[in-house]
């Protein structure tokens, strides 16, 4: 039984990690690096990561850029529209902690104040290599998941 679980889980995780569809969403200048990451030089399509234009079909939300209070509610809405299992990467200083705009009256001091974050990428803005590395780290994390024995078992 354990053997079946392990193999099925491996297969599920492998399928999931090989098709990380990320939401086509950027709120500031990190979006430029995000575009570059999807472009031919870094090409995260190699890992099966392709942008999707709707949160309903996305597995990963890359918060690329400064989030203002006005935007915070929209980000939360996007996150809630995504189907589980869903992952969040906070890309760049602004999404991590408010960054350069921490002293501003209208900037959220880190996107983890509104949605749970799986990975933080430092940098202003992080290079495409950093984002590709974060994707690989996320894939490693996905492979360690025991979906059938946690969430799936209770369903």
């Amino acid at each position: 039984m354990e053997c079946i679980f392990t193999n099925t889980e491996w297969f599920l995780n492998w399928g999931r990690k090989s098709s990380i569809w990320y939401l086509l969403f950027a709120s500031a200048c990190c979006g430029i690096e995000l575009m570059q990451t999807g472009g031919p030089r870094t090409d995260v399509d190699r890992f099966g990561a392709v942008p999707r234009a709707t949160p309903r079909q996305s597995d990963l939300l890359i918060v690329a850029g400064t989030i203002t209070y006005k935007m915070a509610e929209r980000v939360r809405l996007l996150y809630e529209q995504m189907a589980e299992p869903r992952y969040v990467i906070a890309m760049g200083s602004c999404a991590n902690c408010g960054g350069l705009f921490q002293g501003s009256y209208s900037v959220v001091k880190g996107v983890d104040k509104i949605i749970p974050v799986d990975l933080y990428i430092p940098g202003c803005a992080p290079r495409p290599e950093a984002l590709a590395d974060a994707l690989i780290k996320l894939q490693e994390r996905m492979m360690k998941e025991k979906y059938l024995r946690t969430v799936g078992a209770s369903a």
Binding site: K70, G98, Q102, K113, I114
Partner: protein, 166 residues
Amino acid sequence: MNFEDIVKTLKAEFGETVKEAAPGTVVADPGEIEKIALFCRDNPLLDFKALIALSGVDHPGRIEIVLHLASYGKKHFLVIKTALDRNKPEISTLENVWKTANWHERECAELLGVLFKGHSDPRKLLLPDDWLGYPLRKDYVPPTEYHGISHSRHNPVEKKRGAPPS
């Protein structure tokens, strides 16, 4: 047309309500601003067809509205400043003179609390609709939270400095 001639033209029309300040800048009476703006736009010698920016500055005791005007035909520029009472800043809208003033005035209104009388769309432009206070005023205190999102974040570096030496 150089700046001296622009000031002369304005003074010939409005007398002492327009005063020369810094180079390229005139200070105008806030009550006359709409007439002055219309004159600047329609006078064929001045020909200020473009409003580059309408902004506000918070000075002690007064709020200054700054208009940057340009004439692309005559290739000259002018800055008009006008001071408003800080406790009750009110000025008539320039939306009917230059259409672009609409958004500039909305921004100035939400950030500095200036009331533009006669504005056709006095909603907030950039800030959330339920925002309180005027952030670009010098005495503005930011809120501690907005819709349950805390405004402060723990600074790991500062704590390390303040900690007793071990």
